[in-house]
């Protein structure tokens, strides 16, 4: 009986993704996002998120649900969840970091930025260009000049892989 009453009292929010999918979540889960929290405080229960696509939103809702239930005893479980959460492609991580930034979820932002940084730190500049979809705009001469000026930064073998 008590649990039924509790369920009834739970305030719900609808989040709408950029591709028009709607997701119902508990308010207490949603307000971990500062962006959603501000809207809730202004009385909104329907939250359009024009910068967050469904694919990212599903993952982020999972993250918020998991982290909303943080207790002293499930620390390890959350760590495992987080590790699994970031174990994805760079393009997915970029999508997620943009969404987390828009939603102002700072702990998620930090985790994603740290993950990307850790995964690129030993990469070659060529691999970084491919990962970030950057066209090199240096002339070969300009690039050689930078490499020469920073010769020690280019000593050794770097990771050429793109994952």
């Amino acid at each position: 009986m008590a649990s039924t009453t509790e369920t009834k009292q739970k305030k719900m929010l609808i989040l709408k993704s950029a591709d028009n999918d709607e997701f119902e979540i508990e308010e207490s889960v949603g307000v971990q996002s500062e962006t959603i929290k501000n809207l809730v405080e202004d009385g909104f229960t329907f939250v359009p998120l024009p910068n967050v696509y469904t694919k990212a939103l599903i993952k982020i809702i999972d993250y918020l649900k998991k982290h909303a239930n943080k207790t002293d005893s499930n620390d390890e479980e959350i760590k495992t969840f987080d590790k699994d959460f970031v174990n994805t492609t760079f393009d997915d991580l970029f999508e997620l970091v943009s969404a987390a930034n828009y939603l102002h979820i700072s702990c998620l932002m930090n985790m994603l930025c740290q993950t990307i940084a850790d995964r690129i730190k030993d990469k070659s500049p060529e691999a970084v260009r491919k990962i970030f979809h950057i066209n090199c705009d240096y002339t070969p001469e300009e690039e050689a000049k930078i490499r020469k000026a920073n010769a020690q930064a280019f000593e050794g073998q770097f990771d050429e892989s793109l994952d």
Binding site: N101, I120, F132, A149, N150, Q152
Partner: protein, 133 residues
């Protein structure tokens, strides 16, 4: 769906890298170069919790100026001798156009080689050398 990271989010990621990676990534593109050497990024980098406190001084100290290179140093700021305006006993482990010191001590925020005046890093990076490739 965009799989490109917005430019204004890049600093958030790059400030979590170590100096060694940043030096290498300056040759990724002109945009990355100007980002990594910008005053905004430098202050973000030095204040990032995950990074050791580092000071990027985009100009050379007087006694190194001739070499047209700068160094990557990890040593306490006591290594700077204000009387002689020289660095001593630096643990040099890399060369670059900029150099880094592990400890940030405000009284020793130099370094404009020509005047010897104390220069805030945000000002220093506007010097000629900082923008030069």
């Amino acid at each position: 769906m965009s799989d490109h990271i917005p430019n204004w989010l890049l600093p958030e990621i790059l400030c979590m890298l170590l100096v060694e990676s940043l030096l290498r990534f300056r040759c990724v593109s002109k945009q990355w170069y100007s980002l990594i050497t910008s005053p905004h990024f430098i202050s973000l980098f030095t204040s990032a919790a995950s990074a050791p406190p580092l000071l990027l001084l985009p100009t050379s100290p007087p006694n190194l100026r001739k070499k047209k290179t700068m160094l990557l140093a990890s040593q306490e700021m006591e290594a700077y001798d204000p009387e002689r305006r020289e660095f001593k006993d630096l643990d040099i482990h890399g060369w670059s156009e900029s150099f880094f010191l592990r400890k940030y001590v405000e009284s020793l925020v130099l370094l404009d080689g020509s005047s010897g005046a104390k220069v805030d890093p945000s000002i220093a990076s506007e010097s000629e050398e900082a923008t030069e490739l």
